[in-house]
Symmetry: D2
Subunit: 493 residues, 4 copies
């Protein structure tokens, strides 16, 4: 039932969300479905869509993959020309339907739906303050805080209320919101999480990545800028400077790992940046080897870049089984390294007797990499040179990425040499911070906090961190399937 428990988690770093929004001539929910479908890699625990026909608001959300939760029958119950959607990897520990998005509420202004990617820094304070003032909370989502703030605002327009609400929160947010008639996309002043603006005929759309535009045949226009609010209403698009932009702090990990290579985020091609990472790595840390192999699929671009720059042949030395399902339970735990073996199979005919450069995007705890290297050696590799297309991760993220605590990050307490020993590789090299910065167009526009600990929005001391972690440790609970979203409003039918 609980995918977090049953599923194999080879990955330790998880993106939390994909968001999408569109106004269309009709059946907006179908396009939202496709958008979410293409953003599936950003979150596989829940999916949901809210739509509006201008009068009524309809919603549905559930635990599971987009194509399982949002069946054709469900989409039929989501009529109208406006729709927003969301899929998520919970950044809190509990996989519960309560925390699935979009969040749909009724308030003075009518109905309001919110899809949120990111993480608020001052969530605990804001929530305590609101609870002291008499508010109730039904979920553990930051989005509920945002909605409370919007509902409390006295501003006459939705845009005004959103602006007033967001000026009180700190942290990372790429938000898509809608009421009965308006579609809104808005980014935090630092631009931590990506939000792209697109056009499909006379319609406008928002998405975390441009691959969601490609799948519906929409054209990519530009990123939503830090602090900007884009409002779509009656078919018209308006661009507002809603929040005072701060120093840009785009998440560099979108390029290193999260986004699909066929996407553009923060205005740059993911594939291009990722290729650059591989090339830079080859320049910085060449290896005496017979071939370069990737840990598929996330490291393919970087490995190809490494091969190109180094002149070594790129080989398909690891085959990935894409059928590793959410509900997969490995029944034969007695087979050593089973969990990794189920996902990756080294190709003996390619690796046997060869010196191999293995390119991976990052090392979090190191345990999976270690098992993988053991498999590669058993397949006959005579030498393994591990190359990581990003610097050592030493610090947790507070802006929306689900990282383990600092203690679990192997690089926070071990030297590269020690890590190499732990992994069992002949050589190990990370891309340098300088190298990383050279791979993007505007290196100063990015957040590198997970590498260097310089949090652009100060995370207040230890107390707060504990609070956040306490929240993550909230009651274990199981939940399944889907629910509809339905709140009535006393104001309109």
């Amino acid at each position: 039932m609980k995918s977090t428990e049953l599923g194999i988690r080879v990955r330790s770093f998880r993106e939390e969300c994909g968001v999408f929004g569109i106004n269309a001539a009709s059946r907006a929910a179908e396009l939202a479905f496709l958008g979410l479908y293409s953003l599936q890699h950003r979150g596989q625990e829940s999916a949901g869509i809210v739509s509006s026909d201008g009068q009524q608001v309809y919603g549905y959300k559930g635990l599971g993959l987009v194509s399982d939760v949002l069946s054709a029958d469900v989409l039929k119950t989501l009529p109208g020309h406006l729709a927003i959607g969301h899929n998520r990897y919970s950044t809190t520990g509990s996989t519960t339907l309560d925390n699935a998005q979009p969040l749909l509420v009724a308030y003075r202004g009518g109905r309001l739906a919110v899809a949120h990617n990111g993480n608020l820094i001052n969530a605990v304070e804001l929530r305590e303050e609101m609870e002291r003032a008499g508010s109730i909370f039904q979920t553990t989502m930051d989005s509920e805080i945002i909605v409370h703030l919007i509902a409390r605002s006295r501003a006459p327009s939705l845009e005004g209320r959103i602006t007033e609400a967001l000026s009180q929160v700190k942290g990372a947010f790429a938000l898509v919101l809608m009421d009965e008639r308006k579609l809104v996309g808005v980014c935090d002043p630092s631009g931590f999480r990506p939000l792209c603006l697109g056009r499909l005929g006379s319609s406008y759309c928002f998405a975390s990545e441009t691959c969601a535009f490609d799948i519906i045949g929409a054209e990519y226009l530009r990123p939503v800028e830090p602090g900007e609010m884009v409002v779509v209403e009656e078919g018209e698009m308006r661009e507002l400077k809603a929040l005072e932009p701060g120093a840009r702090a785009h998440c560099i990990f979108e390029f290193i790992y999260f986004s699909r290579p066929d996407s553009v985020v923060f205005g740059e091609s993911v594939d291009r940046v990722r290729r650059n990472l591989g090339k830079a790595l080859a320049t910085e840390a060449p290896a005496d080897a017979d071939m370069v192999i990737s840990v598929p699929d996330s490291s393919n671009s970087a490995a190809l870049g490494f091969a190109e720059e180094s002149g070594l042949p790129y080989e398909l030395g690891l085959i990935r089984n894409h059928y590793v399902g959410r509900t997969f339970i490995d029944p034969a735990q007695r087979v050593r390294d089973q969990a990794v073996r189920v996902k990756f199979n080294p190709v003996r005919e390619i690796l046997s007797g060869k010196k191999v450069v293995v390119v991976d995007d990052s090392i979090v705890r190191g345990t999976t990499s270690r098992k993988l290297i053991r498999l590669i050696r058993k397949a006959g590799a005579s030498a393994v040179h591990f190359r990581v297309s990003s610097p050592p991760i030493e610090f947790p993220c507070f802006y929306g990425i689900d990282t383990p605590s600092r203690a679990e990050l192997i690089a926070s307490s071990h030297s590269t040499k020690e890590i190499a020993e732990f992994l069992g590789v002949d050589t190990l090299a990370y891309l340098s911070m300088e190298g990383l910065r050279r791979c993007v167009r505007n290196p100063d526009d990015f957040c590198y906090a997970c590498f260097d600990g310089s949090y652009s929005i100060p995370v207040q001391a230890d107390a707060d961190k504990l609070a956040l972690e306490r929240r993550a440790g909230s009651p274990p609970s199981t939940s399944q399937n889907a629910r509809s979203l339905s709140v009535d409003s006393a104001h309109e039918s």
Copy 2:
């Protein structure tokens, strides 16, 4: 999926809820499960339990029958010595998980869970007022209003906050509430809906009917009185006069139809009262007949009373198919009267050539009764004397029963003679108001508004009624299955 659409609804009158609460030595949720299971007849659309181990609060709810939603695996996730549970027939039109109970929230005082049976008269006003003040609503349940009021209260204790909240609402409520450590049962000042207090060893329990005590082997103590609040904490039970009691207005329909005959509600045996109804009916409206038959199972006791008083033999002339399931769809709509035929089969060998008294508990729209009588005639009955063990229903209920609008109540616009013609019976007689009143111990303690329109709490004019109906007509939405309840609190771990 959507049981409201697929299920056969032979009944037009539906009870909305069963509630249960217990403090136990351990595994309170298992006892709550059994309690809800025995209250299944009070609501079959959703079921849920919230439990607490004194520190953490756990919850689960879903659409469907108690035994389907609350599986053994689910109960394992609900540890602790405190538990409350709820099952419901939605009184609003939409069968959505959002409206399943108990409602579980976090607020200044920690966590709070509420299970509510009844209906508030001033829900719309309260909600509009709260929305104007900046509150958000995620459901259409009255319970959410009550929770908001509790959260806003500045009273230092939970008891104080509940009292303050409930003093602002008007209408019918039998509530079971809990936080991490306390279990509370409370009734509205008129005592519209039943709430019983029981004891199991050194534990205390609350239930809508005493059959929920029988199934767990608990002893029935007494009803919770109008306006009374009973608090169970640290194994001790305290009785508080929380709300100023008004004139009693117990729902007489609990005796006529809703409660199980093996239950005691409002301090009287349901079977006894129901037998009295049948006897009184036989006295008031005897019939020249060969036998008495019941519309099983709700009219069995009254029919037996009629037979006893009249001296006519009681026969099993209608057999009920108990497998009529939630998901039953009648595929052969072409067969006339199919929906009734699927549920009831007249026994030709008993009825053929006989003059029959048919005892039923009530007539709402009359359409089902009409079909049933047609079946009885086809089975050979030479005369049908229809006897109703309650007066004509002419007015809708605003205190928690899901009645059709007044226009749909056949007795609101038709004379008994006209109804007899519509039904196609030889004679038709209802129990008189006087007769009804004589069947209970304290006739002045009951609400008879559905018969005589005298609403003990004034229902304000037409505007309000429309508002309530507008709410009932809120967005159609489909939903399935279960969700967990999980809200964290910043105040305790």
Copy 3:
């Protein structure tokens, strides 16, 4: 999942099957659905329908209740004017889909579907013989043996092949068969199991009980006689003497317990016979008591008969919870007598201080009755007189009823006095064999083997019994849900 394990089995005696067949103007499967639905009490473990449009044969079957397995979507996949259906309580231990019926095969003559109620005495011999000759078996059903015999027959017509096949089998069978164009109903020469013939307009139909005719509005014509074969083809009905009839041996338990009271089986009203049983019992074994109560619902008619004859009032002293589901697991095993308590609740207000006659239809192991009596006593009954509307069951059934082994039948090794002590009743009386015989029209036409051990078809010695039991002990296996039936034939498209 496995209903046999999870479900509460208060009953020890289980009927194995309901069968239905119809030719209709169109959509025969929908009528078969309704027929099976009304026969649900005869088997709740699996359900299936095979239909034909004259060219193609379609099938579907699954584990579960009729209305769950045969959804509207499934019925759409079963077109045509011919249909047969089946539901079953497995008489073998395993609840597997393999053993669900109808069995559908392709053979020389085209396609053939069989729905079987009953049990063959020489199944093991026949199967061994066929296996020796090179046959393969994919199920453990007797029906597969019958189909093999039909396929091997060289007779030119389907009727001839069925006759030839059935002349080789011994035991109990009420069969409904169909191929692409013909519908056939046939009974064994002793007429062990009931099969009724009905008419709906110009269509003919077969069913185990007449309640299946009532639900579709069909008229009951007559029983299919022992040894008779009724063939429906091209809208015409032909009656054939297929097998030499032997001495009649109708199952008397159909009247005592299995059939619905609103049915006619073997040409007699079940309710009438059951009422007679109660009256005879009152005459034979009166009791000094205040009232008569029934163990609902199977003993209602007999209890009413007892009340009528004895002049004691009939009371509803036990209330049955009809929501006891297939998947019900009692989580609170610590509560004593829980399993019985979940199903039955004694009404204290009725029983308290009273001397009670409890009428039940039979005692198998005695364990459930004992628990029930304990509950009745706890509810305050001052004396319990247990009256059983059939003689003591001392022998197992080999003709299609799933009885426990002889050792488990309490009456096979204990005197009535001992049983009374075990049950904890004041007095215990069974109906006598003579009394039982007087309750039916033609007492010599019935099988009373479970009472007196006189098996009308000799069951050969111990070896065979062991073989049958070995079969019943075949591999435990779990299975779920539904499968389609699909065999192609090389002979026609």
Copy 4:
């Protein structure tokens, strides 16, 4: 429900099955699960396992992916040290559980289970002959014919019976069989379909591809040879020449498309052969281009070979969405080319303004390739040179691959020039037959019938082909989920 209807089928060529078998110290079914899991690409419509503990045989099968059908709970019901497993893409039209494998039966020799990969040429004749002799068929699987033949054999040993049975069938079969104590792997005399022999400690195992050995940590020993039977009994392995080997006719398409690149089949590395195909293609049909891209993932190896040989850079120009699920329904059919777009996204940043070589493994109907090329052009490619790493497919396969009819094979009626026009490419080239033959070690050992029509086992005239097609057109039927396999045997407990 019906995956064949709902799923997107971008591929027209489908492999039908993966088979696996193992004797292990214990819990063989868990290893069979892993084996099937790694063979998931060979068949996604059903999965099943039969196991034996030496006494009892246990089975389970269902529709769906290996990890969905064979849950941990199911595996617990499959004890024992012997297990065989199967997954399939039905080669007949109907996706029904009846046709899921392994087939498990009881016969004279006890129980027998068969997992079959391949297709018999004389299935219709054999079946007609057996039906004439009185046999019944419950499925449309060739395997049922094989089992009938084994059951009819008078040979004293299982090996003898299998040999006798297989000497009567013509066509392609790689079979894994088991009874209570023996595990058998056997190949047809031409060796059409692959079957590999492996060892895990002292256990032996069979699998369609060696990737199934890798996942359980087993060692690959050698292919099972054409006509060879390998018997594993009591931990010992015996190699028998069961059938007179004919000319070898290994399916060349295993190298071109079906097998995973990390597998060894027919004794050669799939990756190596596939790289050779790409190199040969580059030599035969070079292109003036900027880059080489693959249609992922099946063409990755060939594309890399092309890149290596041509000196052009290998780019990741198409990104594949691996979440395309079985139940995926494209709701927005109005979006042109949607089905392809959902699966593949071209990377504009890579392709824009570039001359691109697209390497694909084969062209069946050409419709999908055409849509894909349209997408690539829309992403900005200035020239598209389509290179196919196999010759034109002009003939259907009768040996176990599910090909469309000849009329649907674009190359059977169109010249390469015409196809190029249809696809909308600048140039199109296929690998030549000579080139293809040079890529494998022993070119004469392979079947190239789909390219040149020379069927090594003659397919008899038109009548037979129609018969086969008639079979494929057998009754449409829906089915879901899982069933257990259970047949008892009268011979042993």
